[in-house]
Symmetry: C3
């Protein structure tokens, strides 16, 4: 159990909070590139870490992320004109570029120096891996973009989506690194292996590729995986071993990457990799950026169609990126199905995760928790991120922010002999004890 | 007028408040039995006295009422599986029975004693009189179920419904024991006695049985009934006498039964009895359980159809038990009708009561009241319930909670000579000065 | 920039605030007369300056504005019967006249003096200029109705409408007296003068009469008008001069009339005059009463139809007087139109104003403003109204409240030689340096 003050420390990310300060030392996705499809197109209202902002793509294709209110009389630049490399307020025509400079101030004479004194708050932006990234921290501490493999592969090798979630980001991320929950939440509680296989095929659950029926069964049959945790520069390797039909161990190995990424513990070699990044909208809702990629081949049209339709970790969403099955419609739970072939009666891994994570409360009350041996990944995550936030308050910048290349790691599954330690399993599976694959892309190790 | 602090004392029922403590010393309806129709069916979210709870009917038919959040990681058991005499969390499979015992904890080894340390908060439950009753107070003070006559008659003799109300429970109950308001709120303001009778027949107003036109006219013609109040173990007899066409007095005699029941002052011998129980959802909304019964015969199908359609004190409701005419649609008030045959232009006694009670505000501001001689029932109710709450804070348990059999009383109407005192009138009408009828059912007097 | 405390001082108008006290020293529109079409018709719920009130038109045609809750037990008189010169509570029949006297109290004997002690709060009401006006201040300081010309002309000469706005009233009024914003917000950004003329005709923008294309072009071409401000008993003359095609100056002269009126700076002699009055609902929303009038002829049916359809300053509204284009639908902004013939892509002057004013925030944060030379009208307005509120706190009543006849002024446009001072321009245009026209109506000057 946690102190209430620690729970607040962990979950509050607004301006001036310790965790908010920590998160602001890292780049984070602000939008999908597709949300700003057009140069000189309409600005888009966004909200990150409790800050209301505007994003716009100017004439040269670059994206700006700025405060929304014009410094003159506070009109919202959302209603402004995005024209000729700047956003012009519709009230009196004051115009700003993506760096926040006032480039025209028509209510003062042209010779006036007044406009040089006017600045619009703007944040550094990078467009990378089909996402627009923003850095909201102190400029002098701006790190490199985290070298997630997703962004290192050619664009055709990846698929990126986003979805809204109605709860604090921390409990949602904790759901991802807590790989023990697959034994129930995503279980297919049947002894009929043909039915199991049919469901796996239809729902395109994670790990749908070769051997999936056995793996699905092993996960369902062993609800007490043994955990091994290893830290590295960018985060944590979180491995969970389950019983198989032999003495071998079925390892599902996730990666937590500080402060707000997690990679999925499913892919065997040759399968599709998946990962997620959580971006707090405020303390009670977040965006989840979800990505799937293959290192060595383009995704097929069939795979893209599958993800776009809301299978695997991707959600079926509406035009505002809100999942169609959500807390307002009880995730369209089917209580009859829940009695037979689905543990939850909720369709799809993404919606099952959302339902259970939202159900913990807008912000989970961790003072009433009872943790056990399968929760060690969560415990280590909390220790790491809270220690980093505390260290930052003492002036010590986060190690992970200085380790951009350390993010080029993989997560996935493996079957190994019973006596092997984690380093051996990692090396067998990934060729590196941290899962590091940066070398393939020409990065310094 | 009341002090603001007394108004808060009277109307606030959350955990830890004096009135909340008092209410928690009594059993109260949590749901209709029909809301949990199925063994192993879906759990139902309920909210009572500001506490969010889950109700579920387990495999053996018994009902549990428990806190909603799993002690493990706080997931809501609403999404759980109701199976094999327990509710199992969909996150990691922890399972609880209706007494809150953890009966399976799959994330720990079978031999672990960890699960014996895990408890889910659960409240004692009884199913009685077509309702599921819950006791939310200290176990060592759990009383008997109140022996309301409704529950003593055979099931076929009664009809029970529930309806949502958008205000504090106290002012709604006060509306029920304030029988003076019938002269206006429910009046049929016409001199055309044929029209009056026609309306009474169609709307099936309370007291629709023989002699109703005269009684309706007397009520309309005398807005200043004379009140007589008598206390007994379970509550108050509240009698109001009105003029008739002779020197006789038309008595309408209600019962207040502590802390949250009231019986309707209308039935003459042979007519249908009615009563209501208020259960706070929180301080600004409540459920009203409404019941009609006949001691000595089954209700007819016609009577059941009438109540189910929303006539008499029962409301016409939607699938969530929310009245179709409510504050969000101005109770579908018909301003033309209000000019002619209905004092309010709102159809039906139930909706008329709801409209005027909601209109007093989410919580009536009693500091601005101006009470008069017809408000003595309300005054005595407040004194009684506030004194009981204050006594409980001093360690003295409420007398009514120890008087379960004292609830077997009736309320109703009578016509008596002008000089008779209340005890005489009560004895004439009910055979007992408190209206007690428990003896008919073999209870100790 | 402004201190946060000054911004609160300026924008908060609830009971007991300094600005609320000031506003309560003036009459203000409470409803349109058309909202109470019928004697003995249904009461109407209104909210002014954070106070919930009821308005009703009684049997003799007079209108009452009273507190909504019956002094007896707090039931809302909205559900009461409006009958025989009074509003009767539907609960127990207590009845009140428009002055708040209790004229019947049926729960007490007729001979009782209790009812003489019962009062319902009521405010003085006047019906004038198609509006119902209310005075919510101390009775002994009740001023005359402000003699706006709108109310001095015959009824057929004027058109009055109202519309909801989703922001604090002050920033909306500031938008009206800040006439510099016409260069952008209402601009038609085209060099194609035929297209300009066509749009002006179709949208019936203000100033659509003769010479409009030139004036529209001058406004668009000169975003830096030179301001001249002159104070008078009732408020401020706020004049803005723009360049023309010669050395002449195009003057647009607005009037601010304390505390919450503004007249539009557009009409040339013979054109239609326009004005607006802001009435706070609370601190984050207001009603804008909008009026158009001609001194010397009735409005034509075509003009009335134009205004009723939502052109000129009038809005296209729904049955609740809420503009159809509003913050909930992004004012139906057309981003393609914004690239070509409309600066905002929002149709109509009224909706353009609403969009930009709402966008400043529910209450504009004036601590982050950067004002310039074109904002002097706003600065003078703030000084005047804040000084008046401060003086009132010291016991000095507002000068304008004692100057009812001083409101009979006009605002409008004029073209004058380059060297003329404001007094000369005003006298040329209006025959009086303050724009005073009261003498035409037989008022004392």
């Amino acid at each position: 159990m946690m102190l209430g003050s620690d729970n607040e420390f962990l979950t509050q990310g607004g301006p001036g909070t310790p965790m908010g300060d920590l998160l602001r030392r890292f780049w984070m996705p602000a939008l999908l590139s597709e949300e700003l499809p057009e140069r000189d197109g309409p600005p888009k209202k966004i909200r990150i870490l409790g800050e209301d902002l505007l994003a716009f793509r100017q004439t040269d294709g670059r994206v700006g992320i700025v405060e929304p209110h014009c410094p003159h009389r506070g009109a919202n630049l959302y209603f402004g004109r995005n024209e000729e490399c700047g956003l012009r307020c519709a009230f009196h025509g004051w115009k700003f570029d993506i760096d926040g400079n006032c480039v025209d101030l028509p209510t003062s004479p042209p010779e006036s120096a007044y406009k040089d004194t006017i600045k619009l708050l703007s944040y550094p932006v990078r467009e990378w891996a089909d996402m627009v990234w923003v850095y909201m921290g102190p400029r002098e501490h701006m790190p490199e973009l985290p070298q997630l493999e997703l962004g290192l592969v050619p664009a055709g090798h990846r698929f990126v989506s986003k979805k809204w979630q109605d709860c604090n980001w921390v409990q949602s991320l904790e759901g991802a690194i807590d790989t023990a929950h697959f034994s129930f939440l995503h279980a297919i509680p049947t002894k009929d292996e043909a039915a199991r296989l049919d469901i796996l095929r239809k729902t395109s659950a994670i790990g749908q590729e070769g051997g999936l029926a056995d793996r699905s069964r092993w996960v369902t049959e062993d609800p007490r995986p043994r955990f091994r945790i290893e830290s590295h520069d960018a985060g944590l390797v979180i491995a969970a071993g389950r019983k198989t039909d032999t003495t071998d161990v079925y390892w599902r190995i996730a990666q937590y990457l500080a402060p707000n990424h997690a990679l999925v513990p499913v892919a065997f070699p040759g399968e599709v990799y998946h990962g997620q990044t959580w971006v707090p909208v405020d303390d009670t809702s977040c965006w989840i950026y979800t990505y799937s990629w293959v290192p060595d081949r383009p995704l097929t049209n069939a795979e893209r169609a599958k993800y776009a339709s809301g299978l695997s970790l991707h959600a079926e969403i509406d035009e505002h990126y809100v999942p169609k099955r959500n807390m307002r419609n009880d995730y369209m739970i089917d209580r009859e199905l829940q009695k037979t072939l689905s543990y939850t009666g909720i369709s799809g891994v993404s919606d099952q995760d959302a339902a259970i994570q939202d159900s913990q409360g807008a912000v989970q009350d961790r003072t009433r928790e009872h943790l056990g041996p399968t929760d060690v990944g969560i415990v280590e995550f909390r220790k790491l991120v809270m220690a980093a936030a505390r260290a930052l308050q003492q002036g010590q910048p986060p190690r992970a922010a200085a380790s951009a290349t350390g993010y080029a790691v993989r997560a996935g599954g493996w079957i190994a002999g019973p006596e092997k330690d984690l380093a051996t399993v990692m090396t067998e599976r990934f060729g590196h004890r941290n899962g590091y694959v940066g070398g393939e892309y020409g990065l310094a190790e």
